[in-house]
């Protein structure tokens, strides 16, 4: 039996609805004149033109899959599971199971009878669909303060420091997590909260501020959505890469303002973020099309604009985002399509800047690699290396505009703002 990749599962669903398929256009396989019209792909046997007439799947890739046998049955099972599963919010982190043990080991702070785990707290907040990761981190740290039995500011600080270190080491790949932790730590250690006479009052104030941050973030996202949706015009096609709540918010607002547009989602291997986004958009009634990640250049000519989120915005005005953003930006740039970035301002990479003086990446390898296990579905032969970095850096010259809660900014404005902040 011939086996399919994840994207083919979706392809087939779509094609079952509309049976006419480009690949089966009989003109391409004209048997009467094989010399004048060579078969379009080497693996198609001219004697056997329609090996699989029932489903509209490219014969080239069928045979290729058979020959190379890269696709296994459990990959298929996984893909189908992923399609079914993506309704569940933010599940399926490969590290989640592994870390729960480490959480129990290191994460419990605060003495007393009931063990309190920052990571459990963090995971609880992270599961909430509309909370960004940085906010979840701040919420978790606020919870640490609440459950803490410290009696002096110093003790509290040490506890918080431990907790934030735990959080950061739990997921080193997430910039916004560490940004959130650092922001809150900085706030606790250096603010006017310390000037309170009464320790309990200071504690209350810190908790209150931490919880307000969620509201700030939501408000920021709404602002961005309002600014960004102006750029969506009727009848446009938008390419989206990765799952970003801000981008989703922009698209949601545009859809609720009765704008007519179409969204192309990349699949977002290996964690299939695109499937999740397409699921959300389909629920809104926005026409969505899924692409495999390598189909970006193929579809770029029908795209009017590219929308991406950002894990972090660096001082050069470039962004750090999910792997694949750079190549999409390059393709878009070469075809003169605008690339819009939606990012909240706390993602401007302040904390990294404070730690390393400045983050001004000159190339991809300048960033500390955020590794992520990639499941190829089959055992990788020993001695074969796998590129497991989860994010890449997109230089500012490939970005058109950034939508932030500070307004619509060009990349050069971003660097100006950041330089002003951290002079």
């Amino acid at each position: 039996m011939w086996l399919r990749s994840a994207s083919f599962v979706l392809d087939q669903r779509q094609q079952q609805e509309e049976p006419s398929s480009f690949f089966y256009d009989p003109r391409f396989y004209d048997p009467r004149d094989p010399a004048q019209l060579p078969p379009p792909s080497p693996s198609i046997d001219p004697m056997d033109q329609n090996p699989n007439p029932n489903h509209g799947i490219s014969a080239y890739y069928q045979t290729r899959a058979e020959h190379h046998a890269v696709v296994t049955s459990d990959w298929l099972a996984q893909a189908q599971a992923a399609v079914g599963r993506d309704a569940a919010p933010s599940s399926g982190r490969p590290t989640a199971a592994a870390s729960s043990s480490s959480a129990a080991r290191t994460g419990s702070v605060g003495g007393g009878g009931k063990p309190f785990s920052v990571i459990d707290e963090f995971n609880y907040w992270r599961k909430k669909p509309d909370l960004a990761e940085a906010v979840a981190a701040i919420m978790a740290l606020a919870a640490v303060i609440r459950s803490s039995e410290a009696t002096t500011m110093m003790e509290l600080e040490i506890e918080l420091k431990k907790a934030s270190d735990t959080l950061k080491s739990w997921d080193t790949t997430s910039i916004s997590l560490s940004a959130g932790c650092d922001l809150f730590m900085r706030y606790v250690t250096r603010t006017s909260a310390l000037e309170y006479e009464d320790f309990d009052a200071a504690k209350l104030r810190l908790i209150e501020r931490g919880e307000k941050f969620g509201e700030i973030s939501l408000k920021a996202r709404r602002t961005i959505a309002m600014l960004g949706q102006d750029f969506i015009f009727d009848g446009c096609t938008i390419l989206v890469h990765g799952f970003s709540r801000v981008v989703l918010e922009v698209l949601k607002l545009a859809a609720s303002n009765r704008k007519l547009f179409r969204v192309l989602c990349t699949e977002g291997r290996p964690d299939r973020t695109g499937l999740r986004l397409s699921n959300e958009l389909a629920a809104l009634g926005v026409p969505v099309k899924l692409l495999i990640d390598s189909a970006v250049a193929y579809t770029m000519d029908e795209v009017d604009m590219v929308f991406v989120g950002a894990d972090g915005v660096v001082e050069s005005g470039g962004i750090i985002n999910m792997m694949g953003t750079y190549q999409i930006a390059l393709v878009a740039h070469s075809m003169n399509k605008p690339v819009y970035v939606a990012a909240e301002s706390y993602k401007n990479d302040s904390c990294e800047l404070l730690q390393f003086a400045r983050l001004y990446p000159l190339d991809q390898k300048d960033l500390a690699p955020a590794l992520r296990s990639i499941d190829f579905g089959v055992p990788i032969p020993s001695g074969v290396e796998v590129e497991t970095s989860a994010r890449d850096y997109t230089p500012p010259q490939y970005l058109t505009l950034l939508f932030t809660d500070l307004g619509v900014l060009t990349p050069s404005v971003v660097s100006d703002e950041l330089i002003q902040l951290y002079l």
């Binding site: 922001l183 501020r209 307000k212 408000k219 505009l401 932030t404 060009t410 404005v413």
Partner: protein
């Protein structure tokens, strides 16, 4: 103030009928009209700046709606709003008592009507921006919750003080109005003299024996070239005629009368001639916030030709053409379709215009767009009355001239 309303209606009508065209003329008229609106505005006891801003916004909304493509009108409205805010801020800063009354009340209002769409988006962005401009990032945590959590009623504290200081306040109110009108006069003067200020820089840019190319006719370009000639630079100018209005012919005549060596070429000859050119200097209709340019049709082609041959592409424009908006889909939304009579005489294609066949629509269409959009990457330099600037620097000038609250000129429905 019925007479002001009549003036406004008159101007709106003129804008709608395109009786007033060109960014210079419309900017000047707008500024003069707003000056009379302000001078006729009766000043309330408290929150005078708010009253002025509302009055200007009410008029500005009508003016912008009358001809949305004439961006200079909106620019001047926003400049005037910015002037009012600045003057108010400086006067409240000097009179320490009333501080936080007018300036503070604006912010609170925006906080309350936050659910209203575009306006509050820009306002919130502005608020976030101002907090972030403060010394450190923790203001992000400190300040925003403050204003959101405690929108203290602006009148309660202000009124008691306001009554005791009413005499003082009266003087201050007259002073505010006076200051604003003064500042608007300055603005009008700036608009008038922008050509001189731009052309003062001409000798720095035009060198001996250079060849300059331009397209169409722009008063700024003409004065720029003439100023270089007056400083005894000798250079040649290629003028592309600028179809369909052929304003280039007019410019060529004007340049020749000043003694500048001039060559008229067709628009389609730009690519053929560009390799001999040292610099392209053109005028603009508007400069957008990202550094893109809205310019007379044909200029994008010139910019592309200049880029192909690595010829510097210089845009000269007064600062009243600086628009704080970002262009969305500028080729369509910021364009004006002119009358086809520029292209062909009446009756010339009458046999193609047979409405009887093909279901009532003719086979021939004539489209005459007025503007081109030149993306910022094609522009080498902007020369404004404040000097030469890179396209990526435009946002900085905009931050100087406009306040971010005014990007969307629309009155709040509650006020």
């Amino acid at each position: 103030m019925p007479d002001v309303q009549a003036l406004v209606n008159d101007f709106v009508l003129k804008l709608k009928r395109r009786k007033i065209e060109g960014s210079h003329a419309s900017a000047q008229h707008t500024a003069e009209l707003l000056r009379s609106v302000i001078s006729h505005q009766r000043m309330p006891y408290t929150n005078q700046a708010g009253a002025l801003i509302d009055a200007v916004k009410a008029v500005g909304e009508q003016l912008i709606a009358a001809n949305p493509v004439e961006l200079a009108v909106g620019n001047i409205v926003r400049r005037v709003l910015h002037i009012i805010r600045e003057e108010d801020l400086s006067s409240t800063a000097t009179a320490i008592e009333g501080l936080g009354l007018s300036a503070g009340s604006d912010d609170d209002d925006e906080g309350q009507h936050e659910d209203r769409p575009a306006l509050s988006a820009a306002a919130l962005a502005a608020a976030a921006r101002s907090t972030l401009r403060a010394p450190s990032l923790q203001t992000l945590l400190e300040d925003i919750p403050d204003s959101a959590a405690a929108p203290q009623p602006p009148s309660s504290g202000g009124d008691s003080e306001g009554k005791s200081k009413s005499a003082d306040k009266n003087i201050r109110s007259r002073k505010l109005k006076h200051d604003v009108i003064e500042a608007i006069n300055e603005l009008i003067q700036d608009i008038d003299t922008c050509h001189e200020q731009i052309s003062e820089q001409a000798v720095e840019h035009i060198h001996q024996n250079e060849v300059i190319l331009t397209l169409g006719r722009s008063r700024t370009v003409k004065e720029f070239l003439c100023a270089a000639k007056e400083k005894n630079r000798s250079f040649r100018v290629f003028v592309a005629e600028g179809a369909p209005r052929y304003q280039g012919h007019v410019l060529a005549k004007e340049l020749v009368s000043k003694g500048i060596q001039t060559t008229v070429i067709t628009d389609s000859a730009v690519f053929a001639m560009i390799s001999r050119v040292n610099m392209v200097i053109v005028g603009a209709h508007a400069i957008m916030a990202n550094g893109g340019v809205i310019a007379p049709v044909g200029i994008n082609m010139v910019a592309l030709a200049a880029q192909r041959h690595a010829v510097p592409f210089v845009v000269v424009a007064g600062s009243h053409k600086l628009c704080p908006l970002y262009p969305h889909n500028p080729e369509v939304l910021l364009n004006d379709l002119k009358c086809p009579s520029d292209l062909l005489d009446f009756g010339e294609f009458s046999d193609c215009m047979d409405f009887g066949s093909h279901g009532g629509s003719p086979l021939l269409h004539v489209v005459n767009p007025a503007f081109d959009y030149v993306p910022p990457k094609l522009v080498s330099l902007f020369i404004t009355d404040t000097g030469g600037h890179n396209p990526s620097y435009m946002y900085r000038l905009i931050a100087d001239y406009y306040s971010a609250d005014d990007l969307v000129v629309k009155r709040r429905s509650t006020s």
